[in-house]
């Protein structure tokens, strides 16, 4: 067993820390958090130049094809900012989907530009009757000659407001997993993108009205028509713990802030960190942080090392991390009291991010259900051995 970061991972972590300390400060992030796109130039271009957007892209397409753990180390550091922007959607989730599902030609068409940051790609899956999983996809794309015609609405499309291309999940049949994926340009006639106003300013509602795309837009070609759920699920399994790592970084940040504040803030003539209540809040916080961190990295190890039952670990990590990040921010608020409530201080960036990510890539209800199903199907001995 070796739970230390490798040298490569250490370097990745340091370079992100450098970037956040000098290139993009927390003040800049606070300011950017009120603008609809939330991605000012340095927050996107510098990561692109440093190759961070190509880590999930194969080398033959201009990426570095790093391990999921390496990518997660990077995203944990980004989550400490918390750096806003479509880095995960476009730099992790989309390339993983294309690697699992797209034809070689389609990969060649999109992956290089994803790696350079020249295009932003995101997944459009959830619909207004919000749910997760294959059954959440009800929108159909009708065949019309050599084209598909899309009508419907995708909701809570993360980074939808800044995407150039949308990977749209549509239903091709009545069987539960009869899903297809279509690559749709956001600029196609009939596509309208409307940013949703909530805590996360990058989510959008995307409406399709008679949107026509050629049949070549079908990701994976005709082989994957109505059969794209399995590769999509594989991609999600790999991407989810990377998103968890981003959340771990955020929980780490609020932990750091809380410890520092408890040392600096004085009331009643002493640092508030001497009061047992404050200590308890921080202890609870670190319990959540550590639970999130280690379940996430174990899931990543299982995926990278090809261990069995990685899916069990991924669902577990998502559950622990989603709850852990939210709870971490709750405790951080208790420690910070008044100053933490003010937007300008910066703690609320994490509070909003934590809450927004709680339901991203499936909420706890869905992951609990999947975890339960998988555990019920496991032979008891195998569980201990994995």
């Amino acid at each position: 067993m070796d739970l230390a970061l490798t040298e490569t991972q250490q370097l990745l972590k340091s370079s992100v820390e450098d970037f956040l300390a000098r290139g993009v400060t927390r003040e800049a992030i606070i300011e950017a958090s009120t603008s609809p796109t939330r991605t000012t130039d340095p927050m996107w271009r510098t990561p692109a130049e440093l190759g961070w957007l190509g880590m999930a892209v194969p080398e033959r397409f201009g990426g570095s094809e790093a391990s999921l753990t390496d990518i997660a180390v990077l995203f944990e550091a980004l989550g400490h900012g918390p750096l806003p922007g479509p880095h995960f959607s476009s730099g992790v989730l989309s390339p993983l989907i294309l690697r699992e599902a797209a034809t070689e030609d389609q990969q060649a068409e999109f992956l290089p530009r994803i790696a350079t940051g020249d295009i932003v790609v995101t997944l459009a899956l959830t619909e207004p009757e919000w749910d997760w999983g294959a059954s959440a996809v009800q929108m159909r794309a009708d065949r019309s000659g050599d084209e598909f015609v899309l009508n419907g609405t995708k909701l809570f499309v993360f980074d939808g407001a800044v995407a150039d291309q949308l990977i749209v999940a549509v239903r091709s049949g009545d069987a539960p997993e009869a899903i297809s994926l279509l690559m749709v340009p956001a600029s196609a006639p009939g596509v309208s993108v409307r940013p949703l106003q909530g805590w996360n300013t990058s989510e959008a509602a995307v409406t399709f009205e008679g949107v026509r795309v050629p049949s070549s837009a079908l990701i994976g070609g005709s082989n994957l028509e109505g059969a794209a759920w399995a590769p999509l699920e594989r991609a999600l399994l790999q991407a989810t713990p990377v998103l968890c790592a981003y959340s771990v970084g955020g929980a780490q940040a609020v932990y750091d802030m809380s410890v520092q504040y408890s040392r600096e803030r004085k009331q009643f003539g002493q640092p508030i960190g001497r009061f047992q209540f404050v200590q308890n809040h921080i202890v609870q916080l670190v319990n959540h942080l550590d639970g999130a961190r280690w379940t996430t990295f174990e899931a990543l190890w299982k995926l990278d090392a090809g261990r069995p039952n990685a899916d069990v670990s991924v669902h577990l990590a998502k559950l622990t991390t989603a709850e852990g990040y939210v709870q971490a921010t709750n405790y951080a608020h208790e420690v910070h009291a008044g100053v933490g409530v003010m937007h300008e201080y910066g703690l609320t960036l994490f509070t909003r991010t934590a809450r927004s990510l709680y339901h991203a890539l499936g909420g706890p209800r869905w992951h609990r259900k999947r975890l339960g199903e998988l555990l019920a199907a496991l032979p008891v001995e195998a569980e201990a051995a994995s």
């Binding site: 106003q197 009643f268 003539g269 409530v341 003010m342 937007h343 509070t351 339901h359």
Partner: protein
Amino acid sequence: MEAFTMDFGWNEEELAFREKVRDFVHTNWGGGDIEEEGDEAGAWERLRAYQKEMAKQGWLTMAWPKEYGGQAASFMEQMIFAEESALVGAPGSQGLVGPTLMIHGTEEQKREHLPKIANAETVWAQGYSEPGSGSDLASLQTRAVRDGDEFVLNGQKIWTSGAHHADWIHVLTRTDPDAPKHRGISYFMAPMDTPGITVRPLEQMHGAHGFNETFFEDVRVPAKNMIGEENRGWYVATTTLDFERSGVGRAAAVAMSLGALLDGLAEGLEGSSAELNGPQRHALAEWKMEAEVGRIIGYRVAWMQSQGRVPNYEASMSKVFNTESTQRGARRAINILGLHGALKPQSAHSVLDGRFCQLYMSSVARTIAAGSSEIQRNVIATRGLGLPRG
């Protein structure tokens, strides 16, 4: 025959009063939760108009003696008013500076200020907390130095609610830096348009601007605007205020939020199923439990006061319990409503007018303001449970 059983009910007068208040709040408030209003400007107009209607009924300052424009309302009446108001999200009666003036003010001060507060003519801001003095309020540093028949104030206050709208501010200052901290404080009143007072808005996490920083730079205040004696300001400000401290308003708000969610789910909400699963039903049951417990412990405080007994830890308990219930309720709602619950009131696809999006963020401050949960727990432990001081 003496009653040998407890009575959790209301007598005829109380029921009649409750109906009268219910009519009033439904007619005049018209919905929306005063605690959650994000659109600050519109919210302020609405609040002022409503307060004027309350003032016409004598309810704005209902606890005050009649000679000062009040109704001398009983504790039960005050509590009923607070509960019925909170059930529709309407604001409650006024407190703070009025009662302080009644007890410690000069006749001239009472004549000048009390009628205008009772009539909703003047609006007051409270200048207590400072960046360096939150829970340890007595450590406050804003200085007031005597200069002839005036005092010159210098310093900074924070969390001043409504300072941007206020006509007057009541402010705690340090007049004797050498005395032990509680004994060097004096209490002043000043018009907000006094030269040297500046207000800087603070944006809170739910987007509302209710709080401000208030700066005092060589602000000259006449000595006659001091309330009570010099250096006795701490004791003036902490006078046990003789109005109800039940906190039932908070409990009622918890119940109201639950009701709104249940109604919404029954009618059908985008993104949510009316068919709740087991854990969701349990969560709602817990929420209901908390609303009921909060209500009853609030009633207990009001009943104690109506019996002439002074609640101390019971009021703290009500505050801690109900503010924490509010937070738990907001979290449960968001967990049930999913991503739809995270959308602001003005957003497309928001549900229940975005109320839980707002409540989730605004509820964070509830366990901090008006005596943090940590301080309240100390009070409960030491005053209520007789535990040794730490």
